[in-house]
Assembly symmetry: C2
C-alpha cells in the first residue's frame, strides 16, 4: 500500500472545501476558502491552485507526496475531458478547463466529477454505504441530485446523466419542472418543492393548522419549518410530509426495483429532518418494492454531513494509483 496521499476538492457556490487524505480515506488536513464568483468566476481556479500550493508549503509537502487531486464541481462536468460548463451558481458562462489549468498550476493529476456524484462516492466509501459495491445516493437540497455506484462503478451513462434522480418522473401529470417536463421528484422533494406542496395543500385544507395560518398570512415558510411543524403534529404539515414521503418512497422504490443496491442513502439539507423523514419514506419504499428488494435494499440517512463531497472527491484520485 502506497504512503502517498490524496487531495480532495469540493467546489460549491459559497466555499471550496479541501482535504488531504490517506488512501484508506482518513482525513489528515482540512481547510476551506470562499468562492469568489466575481468576473465570471475567473478567480475560482487560480484561487484553488494557490490554496493547494500554499498548504503544501505549509505542511512541508511536495506534489511527489500525492497520487493526485480529485474534485467535485457544480455544473455539467465532462470527466473524460476534465471540463465543466453551465455552473450558474459559480458565474461560469464558458467552458472551464479544470484539468488543464489545475494540473499545470499544481503539477499533480486531476480527476473531476459532478458534486452529487462525489458526495455519492464519499457516502459509499466512508459513510452510510459501508463501501458496498451497489449504493445509490439521493441529495435533497435546493434541487434534488444523486449518484449511483453499481457493481463498484460510479455510473455516468452515455452522456453523463446517470444518477440524476431529481428528474425521475413520479407524477406523470404533475408539477412543471425547470427541466421542461412534468412531475419530476425534484418538484416535490427539494426544499422549494416541499414549500410548493405545502402551498398547494393549504389551499384545499379547511382545518386548524399553524402552517395554514402562516401561509394565509403571507409569511415566508421553509421546508425546515414544514418538517418542524409536522414533528409537532400540525395537521396540514403532517399531510405535506406524507405527500413528500410518498413521492420520495416511490422514486427510491423504483431505484431499488431496478438496481437492488445494498443501501439507498438520503443526504442533503432536507435530510436534516432525519429519522422522522426516513421512516415515512421507508414505509412507502416498502409498499412499492417487490419482496426480494424490500428484504435486501435498505433506506438510510447519510452520515458524513458536508464532508461527503471532499472525501468522495479525493477518492476519484485513486484511479491514478494504478497507472
Amino acid at each position: 500500500m502506497t504512503d502517498k496521499k490524496l487531495i480532495g476538492v469540493d467546489l460549491g457556490g459559497t466555499t471550496a472545501k479541501f482535504a488531504i487524505m490517506t488512501v484508506d480515506g482518513d482525513i489528515q488536513q482540512r481547510w476551506s476558502i470562499d468562492t469568489d464568483i466575481l468576473d465570471e468566476g475567473s478567480h475560482i481556479v487560480p484561487d484553488i491552485v494557490e490554496s493547494i500550493n500554499h498548504h503544501l508549503d505549509l505542511y512541508n509537502m511536495t506534489p511527489e507526496d500525492f497520487i493526485g487531486i480529485g474534485m467535485g464541481s457544480p455544473g455539467s462536468v465532462n470527466s473524460e475531458e476534465g471540463t465543466v460548463i453551465g455552473a450558474f451558481n459559480l458565474n461560469w458562462k464558458v467552458t472551464q478547463y479544470l484539468r488543464r489549468d489545475i494540473e499545470a498550476g499544481t503539477r499533480m493529476k486531476l480527476a473531476v466529477d459532478n458534486d452529487a456524484n462525489v458526495a455519492a462516492l464519499g457516502e459509499r466509501w466512508k459513510g452510510a454505504g459501508e463501501n458496498q459495491p451497489d449504493v445509490a445516493f439521493v441529495t435533497l437540497g435546493t434541487g434534488v441530485g444523486g449518484g449511483i455506484v453499481a457493481d463498484g462503478h460510479l455510473l455516468h451513462g452515455v452522456a453523463g446523466s446517470a444518477g440524476e434522480l431529481g428528474h425521475v418522473t413520479v407524477e406523470p401529470r404533475g408539477y412543471e419542472c425547470t427541466c421542461g417536463k412534468k412531475g419530476c421528484l425534484e418538484t416535490y422533494a427539494s426544499a422549494t418543492g416541499v414549500v410548493r406542496v405545502a402551498r398547494d395543500m393549504a389551499e384545499e385544507y379547511a382545518g386548524n393548522s399553524k402552517l395554514k395560518t402562516m401561509l394565509d398570512d403571507g409569511e415566508q415558510i421553509s421546508s425546515k419549518l414544514v418538517f418542524d411543524l409536522a414533528k409537532e403534529s400540525d395537521p396540514l404539515a403532517v399531510k405535506v410530509v406524507d405527500r413528500v414521503s410518498y413521492y420520495l418512497g416511490l422514486a427510491l422504490a423504483n431505484v431499488g426495483n431496478m438496481l437492488n443496491p445494498a443501501y439507498i442513502v438520503i443526504g442533503g439539507g432536507v435530510s436534516a429532518a432525519g429519522e422522522f423523514l426516513r421512516k415515512q419514506v421507508e414505509a412507502y419504499f416498502e409498499e412499492f418494492t417487490f419482496p426480494n428488494v424490500k428484504q435486501t435494499t435498505k433506506v438510510r440517512l447519510a452520515n458524513l454531513g458536508n464532508v461527503a463531497g471532499v472525501i468522495g472527491a479525493a477518492s476519484l484520485a485513486l484511479q491514478f494509483d494504478q497507472q
Copy 2:
C-alpha cells in the same frame, strides 16, 4: 486473441438451445434439444451434459478447445455459487447444482446467470445494443423481465434482483401483481397484462369495436390479437395499446432518467408488435425523460430474436479467458 471457443446454453421450459461461438461472437454451430421436465426436472442437467459431449465428439473437438461454457437459466440463479432454485417451468423444486454437475460432466468451466440477463448480454454484445457500455434490456413475454449493463458490467445488485424491470411500480394504486405489490409494469405490459388491460377497458367502452364484440362474446383473446386489431384501427384496441405504451414509456423513461444508457432495447414475444409498438412507447418515453436523456438515450427493438439468449450465455464464459 485466443483461438479457443465458447459454448452457450440457453435453457428454457420447452427446449435447451446450444451454440459454439468464437470469442468475437460469431456462431459456428447451433443445435437444440427438448427439455424433459419429468421426474422433477432431474433429467435436464444430464441431458445437457450428454448433448455437449456428443456434439464435441461430432465436431472432433475436446474440452481443451474451449474457454468454457456460459448458461442462462430460468428461476432464481446464484451466479457466484452456480446454483438455481425455484424454476417452476422446469419442475425444479430443490436447489440445482449446475456448476458442480456440468463442470464434472463436461470437464469445462461453467458460468451461469438468469435467462433475462443473458438475453440482455446477447442483445448488448451482438444485437441492438451495439456493444455500448450502458444498455438496458426489457423482455415482454408471459411475464416482463430485464437486464442492465452499466459501465460495461451486468448488474446483479446486492441480492440478484437488479434489472427486474417487470416489477417497477408504474401505477401506485394499480393492478395487483403475483409478486404481492400493486401496479408492476408486468401487470400491464406482459402478454397476459395486455389482455387484462383490454378486458378492463372493454367494460367501460361503449363504441363499435371488434375487440369489444369478441370480449363480450366470451372469445379467447391474445396480446397479439390486440396489437393486430390496433394496427387495423379498431378503436378499443387502439386505446389499449396506448395505455400499455404509456406504462412502458413511463417505466423505460425512468430507466433512462436513472441510468442514461445509450440504448433501451425491447425484446420478447410482445415486441413482435414491432415498430408499431416501439413508436408509441417512444412518444411516452420522450414525454417522461428530461432533455439530456431524451436526446441521448434511444429506445430500440431487439434484433437477435431467440438467439440473443444463447449468444449472451456464451459471453459469460469470456470471464474464464482472463484467469
